[in-house]
Symmetry: C2
Subunit: 398 residues, 2 copies
């Protein structure tokens, strides 16, 4: 990873005295740990940090699901994805069934990645967004500078362990401490996305930096982690979404513009996950409402859910059905708005742009651009991170 290979001067690091636990970062809104909430067998010790001594350097770690950069990586990617019980609970035989399912689906998914240009752009965008954000942070938060960009994907390179080893190699931890922020790139929290990434991070922290003896106190000199675990209605995020919608609205004739339907689309969840109280559907709805508020509720709109797989029940209404329902009824001016992912991926470039749009077969059905390299969005990332660094909170109270 080019953007992480730069030399890291030892002057970044500061000595990290044993710090009393401020708060359990893995405590969730249910008053018990996220691992327990998500039904995992192993409770991982919490991350703590001495926020009073916070000074740069600061490692900014973007967490996301990731995607295969080439079609050769598809099977590995799917195999990790289907083996993740946080994402797709398959029971005790998960580690056997997962890879089998992955192998079966590989040819189909390889073809999809081939159709969008041979791979997922998520690594390119994540590295770019994180680098650009760090440049802004160096300016607006000099007290925590320098900010060093890292990416940790859940199912594709760079994996969490790669990122963690790079951190250690770059002079964090190993008795020298150092501050790191795990910044989820899912704006809305789900146990199956951010929850899974955090579990993976804690797992590797334990493997590479040792167990916390009493579950609360960090060993001296280990990396001091804090977490940005959700930011569904941050004003900068909302502004970036709204600007992209407005740009697409301008492509319709002025007299029709206010009647264009805004169809917000987010990845669906199995009802089994919804019904155990996962906060994701409500947080996605909060983002949609905030964007519509910013747009002064000028257009009709709706939230629907995409990408469900398999025979079990998922949260609806489904995006594709909804589009076809509109088109059938003569309302074919509509803008699809990916609202739960911040850069392009197979669900926008293949599912929305190829599958849904081809079936709709109507020039009025369009898509708002993904946030990708949008400067408003990157400024928002910096603002979210800056507020987090200033507050010294370990995670949200949820």
């Amino acid at each position: 990873m080019a953007f992480r290979s730069q030399l890291v001067a030892p002057r970044w690091l500061w000595s990290n005295a044993a710090t009393p636990a401020l708060r359990s970062a893995s405590r969730g809104y249910m008053g018990y740990s996220r691992e327990q909430r998500c039904g995992l067998a192993t409770a991982v010790p919490p991350v703590t940090q001495d926020v009073t001594g916070s000074k740069g350097p600061t490692a900014m770690v973007f967490m996301n699901m990731g995607g295969p950069s080439t079609t050769d990586q598809v099977e590995d990617f799917l195999s990790r994805l289907f083996s993740d019980g946080d994402l797709i609970p398959l029971g005790r035989l998960q580690s056997y069934i997962g890879p089998l399912l992955a192998r079966r689906r590989t040819p189909k998914i390889q073809k999809q990645y081939a159709d969008i240009g041979g791979g997922s752009p998520i690594r390119k965008w994540s590295e770019y967004q994180c680098e650009e954000m760090c440049k802004i942070l160096d300016k607006i938060s000099p007290e925590t500078a320098p900010h060093k960009p890292y990416v940790a994907f859940r199912y594709a390179a760079p994996l969490t362990e790669t990122m963690y080893n790079q951190l250690l190699e770059d002079g964090f931890g190993n008795g020298k401490g150092g501050r790191a922020v795990a910044f989820t790139q899912y704006p809305q929290y789900s146990c199956s996305t951010t929850g899974s990434s955090l579990n993976e991070l804690w797992k590797w922290r334990t493997r590479l930096e040792g167990k916390r003896s009493n579950g609360e106190v960090d060993p001296t000199g280990t990396i001091q982690w804090s977490v940005i675990d959700r930011w569904p209605t941050h004003s900068g995020l909302v502004e970036a979404f709204a600007q992209n919608i407005e740009a697409q609205l301008k492509t319709y004739p002025e007299d029709k513009r206010d009647q264009v339907v805004l169809l917000f689309s987010a990845h669906s969840l199995p009802m089994s996950v919804v019904n155990r109280g996962d906060p994701y559907p409500a947080e996605v709805a909060a983002t949609v409402h905030a964007v519509m508020q910013r747009l002064k509720f000028k257009n009709p709109y709706r939230l629907c859910w995409q990408s469900q797989v398999g025979p079990s029940a998922w949260l609806g209404a489904q995006t594709q059905d909804t589009v076809m329902e509109y088109v059938k009824r003569g309302q074919s001016d509509l803008i699809l708005v990916p609202i739960a992912f911040t850069s392009d991926h197979i669900e926008t470039l293949y599912e929305l742009d190829l599958e849904v749009m081809e079936e709709a077969n109507s020039p009025g059905v369009k898509r708002a651009e993904s946030l990708n390299g949008n400067p408003t969005f990157i400024q928002a990332l910096a603002d979210v991170a800056h507020a987090h660094l200033q507050k010294g909170e370990l995670c949200s109270p949820r």
Copy 2:
């Protein structure tokens, strides 16, 4: 109804010239009519209004589901409820099956109403809220005064036809025109609640004031309707919810206060309704997020869903299960917050206060007061209505 029996002077009324349709009030956010969206067989003609000539008097009609004021009214209430295909779709035999189901459930539900004092307080609160709101409106919106309070319930007295006949008797319509605002008392829109009330209103308008010949133009001298169909994040509503939560939080010791879990609870919906794209779950989530924003996200919180009946799939997590899960794990300081209904009813007074609390059997499990006669809430109602009257919009663009 005492509060509606006052004499209505003819000077209230103004002549209503045939007005070009400004917009179909029953057009919804899908670009086709609400009736079509909700899968109803009969498309009802839309309501239109000459907003340019808007002056008082103004009839303010509170729409809600209603409830039996005495246990004798329970069977009638349930019979109407189970016959409503917008609320509980039972197919072609609805009008036969509905009353049968109602009769079977009557003894059990009668006992529940007996346990909460012999009947539902919803009529008392609705009449009080509407009267008080009209007093405020007379002051802050003199150009549309006097404002006359009416209530129209979907399943209990006063029914829509009673309200409509009262309007006609009071000097509205019958060639004399007059303005009326249908103000849903469900802050969040669902086809099964507000949608059902509006369908009922249009049905009685057609029966009592005649069909619109081309489906768009009101006959001369009929009542001019406009609709407030949703107000999920109105700042006054949010403030009223937040104040009641803060009042209940103060009953916990200061050192425990920030750890009290806020458990927002709304009436659930069948997944069949959710999956056809009903906006209710997203709008309830928007209310919750707005209230938490106002409370600065100080407490852990969660949105769950109550009152599911029958064997089919409903949206979860269920309130009762969630409470028991918390209590089992030792988190027994939690406040239940009814978030989708604005006055007390069987779901708060019986289901939450008796069933859930008794099962939880913990003094830390409490409930935030319902809005009922809360002056902040009544001011909010007046503000919502005032903004609507000033804007001259017939309904929201959704």
